[in-house]
């Protein structure tokens, strides 16, 4: 066992392996297969962190940015009630069969995955191994089975499932369970519907706007850009941005006035707002802070510094 596993996962694995060994000794059907799966997970635990897409998907998952989707693996007919149960929580359902499950999981990076244990297409536990096993941080994963014996239950848990549920499902219990997972996640709002972090940018110089938009979009932000202060103000409520960047010298409504107006809105009273300008005058900086800006970036700007300041203000939102 390697240091990639936390103690709980280790304990689970040990228990599952014990049970599997006894099952092999008893000559139970499928016991070998069970052993093999568990050994694969153990072997992988020693391989070190994986590269490429899986990492990105899991990073995204870990940051809670994929809060909006649920991946349902197995027969669609059977999983529809599950999707219906989770619908009030605003999770978008995606369906996949066993063969395409791993690829779908990487692509969607869902908040929650629900896998049927046994089906005509294959075995849910194989899928589980592919996506949920240690050393990768466990995503939320529910196993749904028609019947679960203790050994299978342990196995599933060891393989990384969060919970095992038997059918028929109680939709309320399912919803409550999922909601509690959502609450317990360390990420604060943005709300469910929105995976990306939104930034409202009010900047009238086209070239600067391009540079900034590109910089931020590359980091995965959803940037809404306006060329004048008034248009930005009009749209601010609707956009509900997580961070606002205002250029001071804009037509129709300058940055300071926009700042004051934003701070008077309930929604933006405590959201981070940055002023983006080349005023070097101290009284302007003081004015910005007095009006409630969180920070002040001067032009000409360097990308690295700009990003650092922006990310710092969004820091509490990203799960570390």
């Amino acid at each position: 066992m390697s240091g990639h596993l936390d103690s709980h996962a280790v304990w689970l694995l040990r228990r599952a392996l014990d049970e599997a060994r006894s099952a092999v000794a008893r000559g139970e059907a499928g016991a070998e297969r069970r052993m093999e799966r568990l050994q694969r997970v153990v072997a992988r635990a020693g391989d070190g962190p994986p590269e490429g897409d899986t990492r990105a998907a899991l990073d995204a998952l870990a940051r809670g940015t994929a809060a909006g989707s649920v991946l349902l693996v197995g027969e669609e007919v059977r999983l529809r009630p599950v999707a219906a149960a989770l619908d009030p929580l605003g999770l978008t359902p995606h369906y996949a069969g066993f063969p395409g499950a791993e690829a779908a999981w990487r692509r969607i990076a869902p908040f929650l995955t629900v896998i049927t244990l046994e089906d005509t297409g294959g075995d849910g536990r194989d899928v589980l191994v592919d996506i949920a096993g240690p050393p990768l941080p466990p995503p939320l994963c529910l196993i749904i089975a028609r019947a679960l014996d203790p050994a299978t239950r342990w196995e599933c848990l060891a393989l990384g499932a969060t919970r095992c549920l038997t059918e028929p499902l109680d939709p309320t219990e399912l919803a409550i369970l999922t909601a509690s997972y959502l609450r317990s996640r360390a990420s604060p709002p943005p709300p469910l519907q929105r995976p990306e972090r939104r930034i409202l940018l009010a900047e009238d110089d086209a070239i600067t706007a391009r540079l900034v938009v590109h910089l931020l979009e590359r980091k995965g932000f959803d940037v809404h850009h306006f060329s004048d202060g008034q248009a930005a103000m009009d749209a601010a409520e609707a956009i509900d941005a997580d961070l606002v960047i205002l250029d001071v010298n804009m037509p129709r409504l300058d940055g300071f006035t926009a700042l004051a107006q934003l701070r008077s809105l309930h929604r933006y009273a405590h959201r981070p707002i940055v002023l983006f300008t080349s005023y070097d005058r101290e009284e302007e900086k003081v004015r910005a802070f007095m009006l409630g800006a969180n920070d002040y970036i001067t032009k000409p700007f360097s990308g690295g510094e700009f990003l650092a300041r922006v990310m710092r203000l969004l820091e509490p939102a990203s799960a570390r």
């Binding site: 037509p251 129709r252 300008t277 032009k299």
Partner: protein
């Protein structure tokens, strides 16, 4: 008897010929000077970083003076447009010149005006001030309410409350481009001796205007409007640009001009009945007087004309209104030049006294009169058989063609530099208009201006009545 007539006619005809020759040669020279000057200028503004200018702490604060009389329908929009300018520090003072409509209440509602104390910085005599208001929403917007006194008087009232080193006078219906202030301030940054700067005035008829900003440029719909477009191009690009490069500018449009406050106040402010005597063309009179004041005080006052800051304005599109406008402009010209005739041909006043003033005095001011006399004289000459009609016709032919050359040259200048009319068909139209202009429009213009000269000569008696109607200004 015939000999006397012959001598008289000969003299008159020779004078007229001389006039035509000097006028057109003069314009040709101006056009060539403008050509060189514009070329250099266009290259020069490539190094001008507008963004930087806007954000530099070195940009001086400006006060915009907007006199307003009975502009209830448009005043709120005009102010909103002025508030949208891109410039680091500026104030707007709207002077409500005793409007009889509900302008003030509209402004109060729209901008949340409330009375605020403000101490005058100068004491030019004006009609009494009722009160001073400030906007609660836009701290840089002030409104002065006063009893009616005319546009010049309103401007003087605004000057009295101006606290910034530079002051910008605009018309109620001027639409300034967003970067106009940033551009027009450049001469003041580059040369501390600058006392005044003017920009181009363009015709807004036919353009799409949204919230006080010209979004699409187009030619006016009427022929009269289009002819004026070419005329303005000639006046500004060829005319004023050339005078500007010679530091001999005599006119800055009341629609858009930037001045050094101390110089204007020192020279006595705008001319009203209470200051140096009312005049119809107070914007031109101010510039002439400013130059005189600077020369006499030994101040090296530079007056610049730069073509990149733009103000858009409406032009009349009916003959009735247009003729009255030109009549009035000519009157203003006559009054301004006559009042300061001491500057004529005096080296003390530099290029202004020696070149610009005589040009305007003899060719622009007396020009229409000379032309009219010329037409009559030539008519008589033909009738009395002292010359063949052919001669007269060829003479006028040359004059017209010469005018045509100048108009087309102006269009070429526009094409060289600013190309504000993006559609190719507009360019063709402009070229065609440049030709048409000389067959009727110019002659009509001369007639209207002649009436203005006559009126100016007559007006000495009828003075004292201040102009209370609208504020449309010459460019």
């Amino acid at each position: 008897m015939m000999d006397v007539l012959t001598v008289v006619l000969t003299t008159v005809n020779v004078t007229v010929i001389l006039y035509f020759v000097s006028l057109n040669v003069g314009y040709l020279v101006l056009s060539s000077v403008a050509f060189g000057s514009l070329q250099r200028y266009v290259m020069r503004i490539k190094t001008f970083d507008l963004e930087e200018r806007l954000l530099s702490t070195g940009s001086p604060p400006i006060t915009i003076l907007a006199p307003s009389y009975n502009e209830a329908k448009t005043c709120v929009d005009s102010i909103r447009a002025l508030l949208a300018l891109k410039y680091p520090t500026y104030e707007i003072i709207l002077i409500n010149d005793g409007s009889t409509d509900d302008s003030l209440s509209r402004l109060t509602d729209a901008f949340s005006l409330s009375p605020a104390p403000r101490l005058p910085t100068a004491d030019l005599p004006t009609a009494p001030i009722a009160s001073v208001y400030r906007s609660d929403i836009y701290p840089n917007l002030w409104v002065i309410d006063k009893t009616n006194g005319g546009k010049a008087d309103a401007l003087n009232a605004g000057l009295n409350y101006c606290e910034t080193p530079l002051v910008c006078a605009v018309d109620a219906d001027s639409l300034l481009e967003r970067d106009a202030l940033a551009r027009i301030v450049r001469p003041f940054l580059e040369d501390d001796r600058t006392v005044a700067a003017g920009g181009i005035v363009r015709i807004a008829n036919g353009c799409q205007v949204e919230a006080g900003i010209v979004t699409k440029v187009g030619l006016p719909r009427t022929l009269l409007g289009r002819l004026q477009v070419v005329e303005y191009l000639r006046a500004f690009l060829a005319g004023r640009m050339a005078w500007g490069s010679l530091n001999a500018t005599l006119i800055i449009s009341g629609a858009f001009g930037l001045f050094r406050r101390s110089a204007v106040v020192g020279a006595g402010g705008y001319a009203t009945a209470l200051t140096s005597g009312a005049t119809v063309g107070e914007d031109m009179e101010l510039v002439v007087r400013l130059r005189r004041y600077c020369s006499e005080q030994g101040i090296p006052g530079r007056v610049s004309f730069i073509p990149d800051p733009v103000a858009w304005t409406e032009c009349p599109e009916t003959i009735r209104v247009l003729s009255r406008q030109r009549d009035r402009w000519q009157r203003g010209l006559v009054e301004s030049l006559w009042r300061h005739r001491a500057m004529l041909l005096r080296p003390r006043y530099g290029a202004v006294g020696l070149v610009a003033f005589p040009f305007f005095f003899f060719l622009e001011m007396l020009g229409p009169a000379i032309e009219m006399v010329g037409y009559v004289a030539f008519g008589v000459t033909v009738v009395t058989g002292l010359a063949s009609p052919l001669f007269v016709v060829t003479f006028f032919g040359v004059a017209v063609i010469l005018g045509l050359t100048l108009s087309v040259a102006a269009v070429a200048l526009e094409e060289m530099t600013f190309r504000r009319y993006p559609r190719v068909q507009d360019l063709f139209w402009l070229l065609v208009l440049a030709i048409i202009e000389n067959f009727g429009y110019r002659q009509a213009s001369t007639l209207w201006r002649f009436r203005g000269v006559v009126a100016a000569l007559r007006r000495k008696r009828a003075w004292g009545v201040m102009e209370r109607s609208g504020f449309s200004r010459p460019p």
